[in-house]
């Protein structure tokens, strides 16, 4: 296959431009009266074709075979290239005005060469005032943005500049930072290449009117001024007129290259719109580089709203039938699949599973329609390619933006379903960071076998259960799954045989179920575990006693699994949740990703089954606290307020014992803060102790959703509202709101909310709460921008680093960044958190 091996960058020289050119542009008109393009005009037919059906006058190609050809315009007077104006100035400064040699003596040259610091910058720092070769005194040269060079108060015109540049000998060029094969005088344009019309196609409007591209507009200006300048010179017009026109030509050519030069008014369209010229086409996010070369548009993709489906596997994606009928996979016909493919062809494009196109061995594509499908089916033989509809089990790549990490694009197996949304399993929400409040996702279908296999082996969901970020599972059961598992495994809850069998069989458990009348939840869960699994750890409901009693934990928070049997402990967040699941981590590490996927699927369905059986529901009554608890809470708050008031009084009287290195203001704020957090902790403990059991509490404690902090804030007391980590600052003169006295530092006026959400807030409490949440919103907006840019920069810096066959990390230039990747060579996506655990390995091999 042909490939691009290298790309050389050079400065176009006049001869080259002439050589490339197929047409000399001389006329300012684009079209004649009949509407045909004028020969020698900017839309010269020799420059290529943009209209369908026409042939190129130069190469004879059609619109899709002719890429267009360059023309050229001979400039009446030379003009400086804007992007090199500063460089030209520096070159003039570094070379003699008479003989053109670099203003360095031989000793300097030798020294620079030896120290390998030959550059324009180092040359400029050593420039002599007198030419070491011809002895001419140098004059002071000034640069005036954007493209004026002044010598001793007199402006140098491009012609003079060019003459000077021409004098510079080739062997001096390296000291000016000019690469081999380039000449500095080429930076002063004498001849302008005219891009082919394919670069600046004109659009025909419905009215038959032609609308030209911005570049064409700009080129028309250039040709026109060029013409006028020539006429005026020929007529022998006065110098100042010629000077003005020359300046104008310079302006037009400068804005043709770049229409955003500072200090130059941008060229505008007749309507007043700023023209998009060459530099603008390439630049920035929507420019050619970032918009079209790095990011490309693709076929065989679909986008839709997503919705959850707990009954499909985690590596599946539900694809709507109408999408499946659009997305196709090319399949080559052979003896074994011909009957099957014939059936698909017979189904046609409108009935799933069918086919949309066939490609004959000669490469001709034929669309299958209702009318010709029988005919095509008959014609089918080995060697044909059928573009069939997407079917169950096909590999697709599923993606949700922003694609922050590689788990944002994973390979799922398609599963064709009714309705119009993409369905996905809830366990894969965390890596995509997806929810179902209207999120949309993209689906891509790899077309070749090579791509499909690669997606299947490298991008498949099971391969990404373990995140390379922290070496732990990023896919896992969460939310209701955790609630379900908690309800199933907490304590010694018994289930009838009917319940047990129903839930196990419904999740696809195929093993034997012993003949027992009753099963404990722990026994049911144990059916999913491999028989040789041994592990012990603390669950999320662990309250953190001073001394862990391990198996004898009275909260059932110490998980013990022996030989695949859950003996003690509750399965909750710490076992299977993404980023936290210890059990899941162990299973993935020991039994591989495929088993882990199966385990997750079963856990997922079992927990949903339990939740459904149980009928989990929440109520606002969950947040009601007994009267005595409410009284206690109030008492704590009163005491705290009293203490805080004492502190404030102490501060106002100046009697406060200062903290080291703090001002009195800082000291009092810090002390109040600690006082408040202590009070809130007390309240949280109190509420935690006396709360009546409910699903709300179960969710918070097991880590399914919400936290005890949320609970306390709703039921008892919200606490201090903060802005930028401080109590609400005084926005009015010496007070936060006009309802308070000036200088008031009390809890109430500084944004402490005494009530919980359920009891309702006072107006200013509500206001402070709104302030706090507003800060959160603003923060979020700023943060996403900043972290997005950080990612772009990190990718920009590290994109080419890869592990080579010699196990070094190198960049694209072959420079070694690390001798062993990551310092120890361990791939974080292949190990359990941290590093090699020799103790564990020893446990494994010597425990038997």
């Amino acid at each position: 296959m042909a490939s691009v091996k290298k790309l050389e960058f050079k400065i176009l020289n006049p001869e080259m431009i002439k050589k490339m050119s197929v047409a000399k542009i001389t006329k300012t008109e684009l079209y004649d009266q009949e509407g045909y393009p004028v020969e020698g005009g900017l839309m010269d037919p020799r420059l290529g074709v943009v209209d369908p059906g026409l042939r190129c006058r130069t190469c004879g190609g059609f619109i899709d075979t002719c890429q267009g050809h360059f023309g050229h315009l001979e400039l009446t007077k030379p003009v400086i290239h804007v992007h090199y104006a500063k460089f030209i100035y520096n070159v003039l400064k570094a070379t003699c005005r008479e003989c053109g040699r670099v203003l360095l003596d031989e000793a300097d040259k030798k020294e620079l060469k030896e120290s390998k610091s030959v550059s324009l910058k180092s040359t400029l720092s050593r420039v002599k005032k007198k030419c070491p070769y011809c002895g001419v005194e140098q004059k002071k040269i000034k640069f005036l943005k954007p493209y004026t060079i002044i010598e001793d108060g007199e402006m140098l015109n491009p012609q003079q500049i060019r003459e000077r540049l021409e004098k510079i000998p080739d062997e001096d060029l390296e000291f000016l930072g000019i690469g081999e094969g380039n000449r500095p005088e080429w930076l002063v344009l004498t001849i302008l290449p005219i891009p082919p019309v394919t670069v600046r196609p004109s659009i025909t409007l419905e009215t038959g009117e032609r609308s030209e591209d911005d570049l064409t507009h700009k080129l028309v200006d250039i040709v026109r001024i060029n013409q006028r300048l020539r006429e005026n010179i020929e007529l022998g017009a006065p110098d100042f007129i010629i000077q003005d026109l020359w300046e104008l030509l310079q302006y037009h050519i400068a804005t043709y290259f770049d229409n955003e030069i500072s200090g130059v008014p941008p060229a505008r369209h007749r309507s007043g719109r700023v023209l998009k010229t060459l530099a603008q086409r390439l630049k920035s996010k929507e420019g050619r580089f970032r918009g079209n070369l790095i990011g490309k548009r693709v076929n065989f993709s679909a986008r839709s709203v997503i919705s959850p489906d707990p009954m499909i596997d985690i590596d599946e994606v539900g694809v709507p039938e109408i999408v499946a009928k659009e997305l196709t996979i090319p399949v080559r016909v052979n003896e074994n699949n011909i009957e099957e493919l014939r059936k698909l062809v017979l189904n046609g494009p409108n009935k799933w599973p069918g086919a949309n196109y066939v490609i004959r061995p000669d490469g001709r594509r034929k669309r299958i329609t209702e009318l010709n499908k029988e005919e095509i089916a008959k014609e089918l033989e080995p060697g044909y390619i059928v573009e069939r509809h997407l079917q169950d089990g096909d590999i697709t790549i599923f993606n949700r933006q922003p694609s922050l990490h590689r788990m944002s694009m994973m390979a799922h197996k398609a599963r064709i379903m009714p309705y119009k949304t993409f369905r996905l399993n809830l366990c894969v929400c965390p890596p995509y960071n997806a929810d179902f409040d209207g999120d949309e996702m993209n689906l891509h279908v790899p077309q070749t076998e090579e791509a499909q296999t690669e997606a299947m082996f490298l991008a498949a969901v099971p391969k990404h259960i373990r995140s390379p970020r922290f070496s732990g599972p990023i896919i896992g059961a969460h939310k209701d799954h955790i609630t379900g598992l908690y309800l199933l495994t907490y304590g010694e809850r018994m289930f009838s045989r009917k319940e047990a069998v129903q839930s196990l069989r419904s999740i696809g458990y195929e093993g034997e179920i012993p003949k027992k009348k009753e099963f404990s939840g722990k026994e049911i869960f144990s059916f999913l575990l491999p028989k040789d699994l041994n592990i012990e750890y603390k669950a999320a409901i662990c309250v953190g006693c001073d001394k862990c009693k391990k198996e004898k934990c009275k909260y059932d928070a110490y998980v013990v699994i022996k030989n695949g049997k859950l003996i003690k402990g509750t399965i909750d967040e710490k076992s299977v949740a993404p980023e936290k699941g210890i059990l899941l981590d162990k299973i993935e590490a020991k039994y591989g990703s495929v088993f882990a996927k199966k385990f997750l699927d079963q856990v997922n369905r079992l927990s949903i089954e339990v939740v459904t059986m149980e009928g989990v529901s929440v109520s606002t009554a969950d947040y009601d606290l007994p009267d005595n608890v409410m009284r206690d809470v109030e008492k704590i708050l009163k005491d705290t307020e009293k203490k805080v008031n004492q502190l404030i009084e102490g501060y106002k009287k100046g009697k406060l014992q200062l903290l080291v290195g703090r001002t009195p203001e800082e000291t009092v704020e810090t002390l109040i803060k600690t006082e408040l957090s202590q009070a809130l902790n007390k309240i949280a403990d109190l509420v935690g102790d006396y709360v009546k059991p409910s699903y709300t509490v179960i969710m918070a404690k097991s880590g399914a959703r919400g936290s005890m902090v949320n609970f306390v804030q709703t039921a008892a007391c919200i606490g201090q509202e903060t802005i930028q980590g401080k109590r609400i600052a005084t926005g009015y003169y010496k007070r936060t709101l006009p309802h308070f006295k000036k200088g008031d530092m009390s809890l109430e006026s500084k944004g402490f909310v005494f009530r919980g959400y359920k009891q309702g807030l006072k107006p200013f409490e509500f206001f402070f709460d709104a302030m706090n949440s507003r800060e959160g919103l603003m923060d979020k907006g700023v943060k996403t921008r900043h972290s997005g840019y950080l990612e772009r920069r990190l990718i920009g810096a590290l994109q080419d680093l890869k592990v080579e066959y010699d196990m070094t990390v190198r960049d694209s230039a072959g420079k070694i960044i690390q001798f062993i990747p990551g310092g120890d060579g361990l791939d974080p996506s292949k190990i359990s958190e941290g590093e090699m655990d020799v103790t564990k390995i020893a446990d494994e091999i010597f425990s038997k």
Partner: protein, 386 residues
Amino acid sequence: MSQKSQMKYSVSDLLPRRVWNEIERVSKERKLTESQKKKLIEEVIKHYSKAFFEPGEAIGIIAAQSISEPATQMTMRTYHFAGSAGIQVTLGLPRMIEIFDAKKEPETPMMTIYLKKEYNDIRHAKKLADEIKERNLQFYATDIRLDLENFQIKIRLKDGIKKSVLDTILTSLQKKFKEAKVRIRGSVLTLEFPSDTDFKKLQKIKKVILYTHVSGISGIKNVIVRKEGDDWVINTLGSNLSEILKLKEVDVKRTKTNNIHETEKVLGIEAARNVIIQEAMSTLQQQGLNVDIRHILLVADAMTFSGRVKAVGRYGVAGSKASVLARAAFEETIKHLTKAALKAEVDEFKGIFENVMVGQVVPAGTGMVELVATFGRGEHGSRKED
């Protein structure tokens, strides 16, 4: 030696010393026999070679993603008190950006000073802390007045200033304003300038005179003494590593600053690399985000491998890449293209982005290998590039 054992040898050679030490520790702890230990080593090597990076892995992209994905979850809240009575430091995303930008001066420069064993007690710590804290004249002055009639600047000083301090004030002022006569009478400090001094100049002097450095180490704006485990530690706001390291009480080995460039200048590039790693890791950990240290290591290595600290961004690592096209696609498209033309640069298409641009297979991962299939000796036998 057979090929198989040779392979084993090479992998065990790669096994980091840390793991070897672990093996030693475990086998001692469990009193393993020689053969058991051998088995353990074999098993560890098996695990190790399984978990090794595969050639072609785009490790840079993974590191970049692994760092910036959790960055979305970081708080923007800039300040936080480090420790209960510590110093305000920049944290979260802003600090992260600061580290990777390799800013010349962090927003909140900070030092952690450890003390040598013989000085490691509260008395010495407090004394040293007091000594190094930068104090200028303002600290000792209560009032300043300009007497234009007599060309004098009069500064009223606080009561109870030690004689030695007064002497340093006198000498440092005299050094700074050589033309003036400096004297102290009671609690009033007088500077008498020659009578031909310009009034405007006097006004100016009045403005700056209070900032005259008197004692302490310049740059150390605040100090806090803290106990950290068994050690007494001095945290400082402001940083001046080279001066601090000269003090005899300071434990040179452990004392550090959060200023990357300063560390590079004083202690060298390896130390700067460690500062990047430590600072980045602690910023992430402080936010409760879990990121494998290997990713940070890679970024730190990419920033420092050239021997000088380079920022992540257009003026650093990304701006000094070999490929013109990759640079042009990153930032400052026009600048890179015009420069490349001038210098007659050549893009070799060895990186990722360049190949994406022209629609070629990327030279990483599975794109790094080329499949040469040999079907017998038939016509397909020698399909190879070039």
